[in-house]
Amino acid sequence: MNKFRLFTRNWWVLHVIAIAFFFWLGHAVHLTIVP
């Protein structure tokens, strides 16, 4: 795999992980902490 294709693949993998994580976080965080 050449460098550009590797970069493109890694770019997609990182973005899918980041979007999935933030989407899950929005769902998972229940703000029960009362200051």
Partner: protein, 165 residues
């Protein structure tokens, strides 16, 4: 010791001090549990305290440290802003927004971002005081790139909160 090593060490110490402060503040406010609201700050704090300074220490891993530091700042900003919106002060006033929300915590967190940015830029572009700043604002590693990521990830977080209940 060269000026470069001296400045780098100072910025690294600043990163560690800010991360330690944030980590201990979170521990003081709420103990560590398995709930994501408490687990995420704990894990983020640990990463900021140990992994980020380590990645920033070596030129080969500098970019990873820079991206991880920025992403942790975005994560903290989004989560703490969510917390403040959920616990919005009543009655609302400028004083209440300044002192009774997580605005101060978010400002401190962005301090950590700017220290990381300074460290990254100094290492990447060198220490020549006459060198002109180059690069397109909206492209990595400039501020516009971070702004786009902050906005998009905030929207994704909000969508997750709104759609997936």
């Amino acid at each position: 010791m060269t000026v470069r090593t001296y400045v780098k060490s100072t910025l690294l110490a600043s990163l560690v001090a800010l991360a330690l402060g944030g980590f201990l503040l979170h521990l003081r406010i709420h103990p560590f549990t398995h709930s994501p609201s408490k687990l995420i700050p704990f894990v983020s704090g640990l990463l900021s305290l140990v992994l980020v300074p380590l990645l920033f220490s070596f030129r080969k891993t500098l970019s990873y440290g820079y991206v991880l530091n920025g992403m942790l700042v975005i994560l903290g900003t989004v989560a703490m802003a969510h917390f403040s919106i959920s616990n919005w002060p009543k009655p609302v006033s400028v004083g209440a927004i300044l002192l009774k929300t997580t605005l101060a915590d978010i400002a401190l967190l962005w301090g950590k971002f700017f220290v990381g940015k300074a460290l990254f830029d100094l290492e990447l572009y060198g220490y020549d005081r006459d060198q002109a700043k180059k690069g397109i604002t909206c492209r990595y590693p400039n501020y516009g790139w971070w702004m786009v990521h902050l906005v998009v990830l905030s929207l994704v977080y909000y969508l997750g909160h709104l759609v997936w209940r």
